[in-house]
């Protein structure tokens, strides 16, 4: 437990605290009075209000659209299911710049909808909401669908045998079992949309701004660090509350449910109704997720002289002046960074998950103390915080704290993987935890009794059981690191841009060629993410659905 705690203290708590303190301390005095000043401003209140209601609306919309999907993925067996499941997860690990761009290509000026029907949604709140659904569809499908596939359908059948109508059976049997999972998914979506940055910045125009966007503006553009610090604290508090509720609902989900192997619950759809449902979900996925991605790919090939590889070829040259290196090198940079970030995230996250499991199993065997349980849950929630803290705060914090020996890391490349690992760790912990907790502590004890060293016991007992989960966790951390944009953009060195940073830089430049190259790079990033997710689909087992 000491290693992950130290890691978070040095690379998360310390930088964030330093930058917040810098903003709130003027002339050696704390300025807590600023909080009231800042919150009293009408435009700040407007931002708070917009942040909250768009997150709420996005969450409701995502649930409405994604729950049927969760059902279909959980209960139906059909051709291409694995590919489709990987496809809906791609947006989740794509950087928001790419998501924003994909939507702009669809609903913006001269976009597909504009060309067909003259419909333009950019700078409206609808574009933001739809992009949020696109982004978070996988969260619902994976969290709810994962559990759904392990619920024994015979329980519902039994209720129907006893005379309950189909609706009553579902409401009385399945819904209560699913409730906590739905709540957990809803809270995750709420967390992600509450802290939405890139999507709102690209699609929102000058009139919409979330808390996260406002923190960025106040820090990077207006340079009002005290306002930024107050807003950071407000966001911190909000995220803290969301995570606390999330932890609580997860705990409820761990209450005894009779789970079965998912392999036996899914079957081919029967009857017109079920086929129609399947078709409806596939159509929704096609329009909402595959279409924007498709537009992106199409534009990457649509060069000035017709369809072709013009933009891809341009990636290999460094003439554009945007970078000091050909944009294609961003691929190598991204892969290197992501590998390093994955390694860090797996080590830190694995240790954290193991630390979280130990008291858990001890609690089970010896009763334990409620305090220890609460401590563990607090630590659990703490590990999730980086998901909800503004990337610009972390980035600027790195800038002012990691510049002195022994932590003089600012000029080194390891800074980027460190920042990315912060985001990867929560995914590793979430994936590993359920599996580790399922390992029976008595096996370990038995091994110890038979004379095995703790290391040997771990290697012989735990490792074989968690190896797959570990691989899945690593894969997820890898994909998330590939897509990380917010913190990376602040610390990536200009001669070593990552794919998302390169895409953003290219988009910020005038000219056809730059736009085309941005599309081409986005496509490459998308393919890399999709391939790693598809590999995960192949090694995933039904016991390792995790919580994402």
């Amino acid at each position: 437990m000491a290693v992950p705690v130290a890691f978070f203290a040095v690379f998360f708590a310390y930088p964030v605290a330093a930058i917040v303190a810098r903003g709130l301390k003027a002339g050696g005095h704390w300025q807590f009075g600023r909080t009231a000043d800042v919150l009293g401003q009408s435009d700040i209140r407007h931002v708070l209000w917009f942040t909250t209601w768009q997150a709420f609306a996005s969450t409701v919309l995502t649930l409405l659209i994604a729950l049927p999907g969760a059902y279909v993925f959980a209960r139906f067996e059909f051709r291409g299911k694995q590919v489709l499941r990987a496809a809906v997860t791609v947006p989740f690990v794509l950087p928001t710049v790419v998501v924003g761009t994909a939507f702009l290509a669809l609903v913006g000026r001269g976009g597909l909808l504009d060309g067909l029907w003259g419909v333009r949604l950019d700078t409206t709140v609808w574009a933001i909401l739809l992009a949020h659904v696109f982004f978070n569809y996988a969260v619902v499908v994976r969290t709810v669908g994962g559990l759904w596939s392990q619920l024994d359908p015979r329980q519902e059948e039994a209720a129907r045998m006893l005379g309950a109508s189909r609706w009553t059976a579902w409401r009385k049997v399945t819904l209560p079992a699913l409730g906590p999972a739905v709540a957990a998914a809803a809270l995750m979506v709420f967390l992600f949309t509450f802290t939405s940055f890139g999507v709102v910045q690209i699609l929102g125009g000058p009139t919409f701004s979330t808390l996260e966007v406002e923190i960025y503006r106040q820090t990077a553009q207006i340079f009002d660090l005290s306002t930024a610090a107050v807003l950071t604290i407000v966001q911190f508090a909000a995220v803290g509350i969301i995570l606390a509720v999330h932890a609580w609902s997860v705990r409820r989900r761990e209450s005894a449910l009779r789970l079965v192997d998912a392999a036996h619950t899914a079957r081919r759809p029967r009857g017109a109704g079920q086929w129609a449902l399947l078709a409806g979900v596939v159509a929704t996925v096609a329009v909402l997720i595959l279409l924007p991605l498709g537009v992106l790919i199409q534009r990457s090939f649509e060069g000035p002289d017709g369809f072709g590889f013009t933009y891809y070829k341009a990636l290999a040259s460094s003439d554009s002046g945007v970078f000091l290196v050909p944009p294609i090198e961003a691929i190598g940079n991204s892969l290197t960074y992501a590998l390093a970030a994955t390694a860090i995230a797996v080590v830190i996250g694995g240790l954290a998950a193991a630390a979280l499991t130990l008291p858990h199993s001890r609690l089970r065997s010896s009763g334990g103390t409620p305090l220890a349980g609460r401590l563990v849950r607090g630590f659990d929630a703490l590990l999730m915080l980086p998901l909800g803290v503004s990337a610009v705060t972390v980035g600027f914090g790195f800038l002012i704290t990691l510049d002195k020996p022994p932590l003089d890391l600012r000029g080194t490349w390891i800074l980027v993987p460190l920042a990315q690992a912060l985001v990867g760790v929560p995914f590793v912990v979430r994936t590993m935890l359920p599996v580790l907790r399922a390992v029976d502590g008595r096996l370990r004890e038995a091994a110890a009794v038979l004379g095995a060293s703790p290391l040997r016991a771990w290697r012989e007992v735990d490792l074989p059981m968690v190896r797959r989960a570990l691989l899945i966790a690593a894969g997820f951390a890898f994909a998330v690191s590939l897509g990380e944009f917010g913190a990376t953009v602040f610390i990536a060195r200009p001669d070593r841009p990552t794919l998302p940073v390169a895409v953003a830089r290219l988009l910020g430049r005038a000219g056809d060629l730059n736009y085309g190259q941005a599309m081409a790079l986005s496509t490459i990033l998308m393919v890399v993410c999709a391939v790693s997710l598809l590999l995960l689909e192949r090694i995933r087992t039904d016991r390792t659905t995790g919580e994402f």
Binding site: D43, Q221, I222, V322, A343, G411, P417, G511, I539
Partner: protein
């Protein structure tokens, strides 16, 4: 299946190895700035120079130049202020007159009088006597117009701030959000210089009533909304007036194939605000000597003449000649609006706030 596991295991192991290596070996190139043979220039994303010009400097001075591009101008300055005690480089380029006071008040730079400063026009020397910054380039933020639109509609293009609020030009202008875009801010400052501290609000009310459109950034305004640019025409932009730069018409013409006789866009010369960019030696620069040599180079004739076609800005030195291609399409702006950096610093935040509630809400 097992090959996948093996591959992933190898990958993870390799990643772990990398981390360990880097932990032991320290930085790869991070300590460059401590090396006196290397000089590091921190700049914004728009920095550009011809390769051979930079090579010439490296050959004649013996320094190797490392360039760190750090976001847009505001971001680069803010990061430099935050890391003042242990800066990322030796010289910062890209502080303009709207950001100058912020940089100076925070003690970002140390004085150095660059060689060749006598060639720099006095109107650009905004830190005269103290020499904490050196003027490097200048340009004007002006309304550009689509020549074809005004010819087709037999309408005279607007020439002044006043014209833009006239009914003849209703719903024709697109500008940028002043809180997120530097041309947007420049245009606001130009209007404040023209109408005074208390008059500009009334002017913007008239502009709003006359249908001015606001978008977030220059890219969107110029390449999507403006009907006169190559990008805008393609995207179906329908606003023939846009807040951009006096150097946009040369850029528009030079990047056309084939190059036209005259630029497709023009400049409303009575709507301009002068923007000057500076460079300075950072306070705790590790390579002071190299930084000074770099500053000398930035106002030397070779770099000054190389600048226009790379960054589309004008030289500040009197002896620099404009490249022929650039001069051919260049629009001369006689008396742009200006404002003292201190005044900008004093009013900027309040004005941006007032403007936001006046125009965006």
């Amino acid at each position: 299946m097992s090959t996948i596991i093996k591959a992933t295991a190898v990958a993870v192991a390799a990643g772990l190895g990398l981390v360990t290596l880097s932990a032991c070996g320290g930085s790869d190139s991070g300590k460059d700035s401590a090396d006196s043979k290397t000089v590091t220039l921190v700049s914004h994303d728009s920095w550009a120079v011809s390769k051979n010009v930079l090579k010439d400097f490296e050959k004649s001075s013996g320094y190797k130049v490392t360039v760190l591009k750090d976001g847009d101008a505001g971001e680069a300055v803010n990061k430099a202020i935050l890391s003042k005690d242990n800066p990322q480089g030796d010289v910062l380029f890209g502080v303009d007159n709207t950001l100058l006071s912020r940089a100076l008040d925070n003690g970002l730079f140390q004085p150095y009088e660059a060689k060749g400063l006598d060639q720099v026009g006095t109107e650009y020397q905004l830190d005269k006597g103290k020499h904490r910054v050196t003027p490097i380039d200048t340009g004007n933020i002006c309304v550009n117009y689509d020549k074809k639109y005004f010819a087709d509609h037999k309408l005279t293009p607007p020439a002044s701030f006043d014209d833009l609020a006239k009914p003849a030009y209703k719903n024709l202008l697109v500008t940028e959000n002043v809180s997120t875009s530097s041309p947007g801010l420049g245009f606001l400052l130009g209007s404040a210089a023209q109408y005074g501290d208390n008059g500009w609000q009334g002017y913007w009310k008239r502009l709003k009533a006359n249908g001015v459109k606001v978008v977030d950034g220059w890219e969107q305004a110029y390449n999507e909304e403006f009907s006169g640019s190559a990008g805008g025409r393609k995207a179906g932009g329908d606003r023939p007036l846009v807040v951009s730069y006096a150097s946009s018409p040369p850029a528009e013409a030079i990047y056309s194939d084939p190059q036209p006789k005259t630029a497709p866009t023009g400049v409303a010369t009575g709507t301009c605000f002068r923007q000057t960019e500076f460079a300075g030696l950072l306070s705790n620069a590790k390579n002071e000597k190299g930084g000074k040599a770099l500053l000398d180079f930035l106002i030397a004739k070779q770099f000054q003449q190389d600048m226009p076609l790379n960054m589309f800005v004008d030289p500040v030195t009197k002896d620099a000649a404009l490249p022929a291609d650039y001069a051919k399409y260049d629009v001369k702006v006689d008396s742009p609006q200006t404002m003292a950096p201190q005044k900008i610093a004093d009013n900027r935040d309040a004005w941006v706030k007032t403007w936001t509630s006046l125009v965006l809400k």
